[in-house]
């Protein structure tokens, strides 16, 4: 698609084509250079033109079919869409119904603890030492609304940093498995950490 219908793309490449032709000194190497460059250039132009075509297919209003107007129309279309989005989101925000989560949340909490028991899941805290600096913790607690956040907050305050984490919620319980490290590289003791965790859990 050398003679691109999208006018003037070739015009923009004048410099680059010229560059390829400048290396016209040697024989074999150079024919390679030239052809490589030519092909690369061709592919590049092809890529660009295909994408422009796709762009044009997306935009509903098209005026002229040349390269610059495609971009212009795309710009106006995007601006239009952004305005739409803004209008809709404003509309959404202003008609925001009062939040009804309050009563629900508390009901949730009561329920999860009960649910856990009902399903035979027991709260648990385990701490194992992997390394001098690494611990592995496992926590099972009833799941409540912002509990995980609070746990993380407290842990970070205590100087723990969770590296690899996996959290799952199931049957009203939350399972947290994580590798924990001291934030400043200190040594951690498993038992001490366990006590600490138990206390934390009681508190949140």
């Amino acid at each position: 698609m050398d003679g691109l219908c999208l006018g003037g793309i070739g015009g923009g490449e004048n410099g680059r084509i010229g560059r390829g032709q400048l290396e016209d000194n040697d024989d074999d190497d150079d024919t390679q250079y030239k052809s490589k460059n030519l092909e690369a250039e061709r592919r590049r132009r092809l890529k660009l033109s295909q994408r422009l075509l796709t762009l044009r297919s997306l935009v509903p209003k098209i005026t002229n079919m040349n390269m610059a107007t495609i971009i212009d129309d795309a710009v106006t279309y995007i601006v239009d869409l952004q305005k739409n989005v803004k209008a809709l989101s404003d509309q959404l925000l202003e008609t925001e119904a009062p939040c009804e989560d309050g009563p629900k949340a508390s009901v949730d909490e009561i329920d999860t603890a009960q649910e856990m028991e009902a399903n035979g899941v027991k709260p648990d805290v385990q701490v194992t030492s992997i390394d001098e600096h690494k611990l592995w913790i496992k926590i099972i607690i009833p799941k409540k609304k912002s509990r995980f956040t609070k746990l993380l907050e407290t842990l970070s305050v205590c100087g723990f940093e969770l590296t690899d984490t996996s959290v799952t919620a199931f049957k009203g319980a939350m399972l947290i498995l994580s590798c924990v490290e001291g934030a400043s590289g200190e040594m951690l003791k498993a038992s001490r950490t366990k006590d600490l965790l138990l206390e934390i859990i009681k508190g949140i």
């Binding site: 923009g12 796709t54 997306l58 610059a68 809709l88 989101s89 959404l92 907050e153």
Partner: protein, 524 residues
Amino acid sequence: MAVAEYPPKEMMEDTAACFDPNAVAAAQVEGVAFSGTDGCHQQQNVAASAVEEVDLHRHYQQQELMGFAAEDEGGGVDDRRSISRVALEEGFHRAGSGDNGYGDMNQVLPYGAGHSSSTWDYAAPGTEGLSHDDDGHHHNIMSQQVADPLQFLQSQAPQTFGNDGPSDVFASVPAADLLNLFRLARCSSSSLLPSSSLSFANPNSPAPPLLFDPLVHLSNLQPQPPFIRELFQSLPNCGYDLPIPGSSSLFGGGNNLERGENEGDEGNNLGMAMMYCEEEDGGHQFVENNNGVFTFGSEMMADMDDCHVKVKMGKRRRGKVAKPYTTERDRRSQINHKYDALKKLIPSPTKGDRASIVGDAIEYIKELLRTVNELKLLVEKKRWGTERSKRQKVEEEGFDGEISIARPPGNPADQSYNRTLRSSWLQRKSKVTEVDVRIIDDEVTIKLVQRKKINCLLHVSRVLDELQLDLHHVAGGHIGEHYSFLLNTKIYEGSTVYASAIASKLIEVIDRQYTTTPPTCSGY
């Protein structure tokens, strides 16, 4: 021509102002002027001189009209103007030949002379400040509305001058329009626009077709350009931004008419304006007039959307053949400007080369479409939700304790609306963070990659709480240099959070934390 002989100061005295932007009148006066030139009577001296000055004036006024803001842009030529100029020159030629086919014009002259004293005198103040210099000065004259001469001119309307163009057309334009034309040409206020009978808002009115016929004579053509410019200045956004630089004249200096230069700028704008007219009116009649010549002065085109309307050469056009761009370099710089504009719009641009800009634009457009759909759905749901809750409030009162977990049963009617699955997906990247948010119905899946520095899990969790997302599953950790997390969350019932809000909030929080945290010397 006799006109040239007139010393400038005489022009100061008179009239011509009274003929003002009304080229029709001017055209009439042209006839009058020439007859006056032919035989200058003493008593009619005032009238004659005034008339001749009017004639010369008319040129300037045409310029004025064409170059509304009096910016001396190189004039473009379009068919109409070429035609009008031709008409002008024809008129001049006729005058120069001293042809006496204007017998009836001599009749006019006494008529004109009879009124002349009053009208000219009236108009006299208006001519102050007029000079032979090109543009800007006409403003003074122009701004002085002269009612009387207008009436005088209007009364001339039914007269036929024995030459073709002006009279026919002039006759067909109702007098009231003339007044509008006068005023409109001078005031740039948009309030006048509705009053104009040439208003674009009314494409079905019979009057415009006449005016936009390419063959319509000079007299009717000239008032047009100011309309267009004002129209665009005054119109609210019709979905297409048409930033027209206030300073540059849309229709270039009318100097072209006299000098015969065709640099094409004006034609561009004219054509472009025409083009936009076309767009917004959905194919208004004057589409076919869109034959503007386009050249792009670089400063002019920086902001404007431009239509690459190729020039259809008016056969009678003179001067150099105007190309769309003066140089290849201009063209390239234009295109680069546009690519830049596109790039600015895209939220997370990656590389700067054209292909990737276009690629990103494609993705962004798709994303915007998804967002729009999502939001529409949400709004719908919300509306239904509020209605439903109103309906069910009566029922719910008895069920306080049991509502919690089970979703309130919807009416069958609601079900049909709720069946449309809400889905959306978008990605956002910033320098250190990458967020991918997918929403299906009420489940949100978030993928987060952050170049490790802070304990982002904490912040993410906070954000999720704020957005009322219920964390169901998290997996991730430290991978190489990055923190990577996959989070599965559920949207609480009744919350109307949407994808882009989530994504942008997350990125915002994380970036903020990233920048505010001093670099920690971690063991890694």
